[in-house]
């Protein structure tokens, strides 16, 4: 496991909360998808048999929105953990560096070894937090990837929806096309935000 250097560590705990803050936008879009899905369900109920092929699409939209919201909540938890662990690891590293400096400057001191134990404890704690940090960072990447996969699937669903919308009765066509467009825009915004988040994390990746 490569060790984060001090400079990266300093910005990493900021990046983690930055990602968390950006994901608020994703949460907002997921809620928009959920709202559109509700509209679509109502429309499907009203239109009846004319638009029954749209029902699986609206069900999928609801599921997608729910999953996305759950994932964002998990990501926020991980991001906070990363920020905390990163900060503690940074403080631990500082403590270790101070002990090492004291060791260096006390070469001729009679009781030089008397702080060996706290120095080793500080090193052990620092490594432990680094392991935690790695674990949480990998998890964060996984979660972001999961949302991204869902958005890729949403792309496919959008194309299918467009085709379906074109076949419904003209009475409802405009409504369904509007729903599909909003769904497509929301999914696109989510993907754009995720791309930025991944880029931020990539710059810090180890």
């Amino acid at each position: 496991m490569m060790k984060l250097n001090g400079e990266l560590r300093t910005t990493f705990f900021i990046t983690a909360v930055d990602v968390s803050a950006r994901l608020n936008a994703v949460l907002k879009e997921a809620k928009n998808i959920s709202l559109e899905a509700m509209n679509a369900k109502a429309l499907v109920a009203r239109a009846g048999e004319n638009v029954r092929t749209f029902k699986p699409i609206t069900d999928y939209m609801v599921e997608l929105a729910y999953d996305t919201i759950q994932l964002v909540e998990e990501i926020n938890t991980e991001a906070l953990q990363i920020s905390k662990s990163s900060l503690i690891a940074m403080q631990g590293e500082f403590a270790v560096s101070q002990f090492k400096k004291a060791k260096l400057n006390s070469r001729n001191a009679l009781y030089r070894d008397s702080f060996e134990k706290p120095m080793l404890t500080a090193q052990k704690d620092s490594l432990e937090f680094e392991k935690n940090l790695t674990r949480h960072t990998h998890r964060l990447h996984d979660l972001l990837e999961q949302i991204e996969m869902r958005m890729l699937a949403a792309n496919v669903v959008t194309s299918t929806s467009r085709l379906e919308a074109a076949t419904v009765s003209s009475v409802y066509q405009a409504n369904f096309e509007a729903i599909v467009e909003k769904f497509e825009m929301a999914a696109g915004n989510i993907r754009s935000t995720l791309k930025k988040c991944r880029k931020l994390l990539k710059m810090q990746r180890y």
Partner: protein
């Protein structure tokens, strides 16, 4: 970091640490003190986070660091005690003696393992390995919760910011010419000490003690007649200059 044994008695010693030539230029110079007995030790105002490694490296010339069983913080300022988090990791078994007023604040520096022994406003005492130390109230000199430490056997008073001055790196550790020394301490006391009443109360309190050395946290140490000269001088000046805003 320079160090000097300023007292050696039958049961204990006082050592001062300071004038660290390698400290960052913009941080204020400070004196740190160690009282050492055969089995234990107490650090008085152990210093800021920037000085920790230098302090640790110096202390281990005198005693094993795990024999330090106590830390004293006169008040809450960072130059006195911002290294607390690191001492917390180094001597986690030790007890921190500090004003009750500042407990919630000092814990911000990191105090997970150390035991916090609050000192009540009226003061207190500590018996450590056969020696007695007294915590003398020094509130509003300058901090609103503040203590000096008196050792009746060594006849040393650790006075914290009282007696402090802006010393130059090559200034002597002990005050030599008191009249010249005034220029280093006058502005400090006029600005930092807020209360005439608190000043007089502290002077009255410590005049009852037999003091041969008055050891401040910044600047030079007062010895013998200079202790009396300092107290007389402090009595004569007006403090609280920050209130004069015109």
């Amino acid at each position: 970091m320079k160090n000097l044994k300023i007292y050696e008695g039958k049961d204990h010693e006082w050592i001062v640490f300071g004038r660290d030539a390698e400290k960052p230029k913009k941080i204020i110079d400070t004196n740190q003190y160690l009282i050492k007995t055969p089995r234990e030790g107490i650090l008085l105002d152990p210093g800021g986070i920037e000085l920790f490694s230098a302090m640790l490296a110096s202390i281990v010339h005198f005693m094993p660091v795990d024999q330090i069983t106590h830390i004293f913080a006169s008040h809450q300022d960072p130059d006195i005690i911002s290294s607390l988090g690191l001492w917390d990791k180094t001597i986690s078994h030790a007890t921190l003696h500090a004003p009750w007023l500042w407990e919630g604040f000092l814990r911000h520096y990191g105090c997970e393992s150390l035991t916090y022994a609050s000192i009540a406003d009226k003061g207190g005492s500590l018996k450590m390995d056969g020696i007695d130390l007294q915590f003398i109230p020094a509130h509003y000199m300058h901090s609103s919760g503040n203590f000096s430490v008196y050792d009746p056997v060594a006849k040393i008073l650790f006075s914290g910011d009282i007696g402090a001055g802006f010393n130059k790196p090559d200034d002597p550790l002990f005050v030599e010419d008191f009249d010249t020394h005034i220029s280093s301490i006058k502005k400090f006391h006029q600005r930092w000490m807020p209360s005439e009443r608190a000043k007089m109360a502290w002077i009255e309190r410590v005049r009852k003690l037999d003091i041969q050395m008055l050891c401040p946290q910044h600047g030079s140490i007062y010895k013998d007649e200079n202790v009396g000269r300092f107290l007389n001088w402090l009595e004569s000046i007006e403090v609280g200059s920050g209130l004069r805003l015109d």
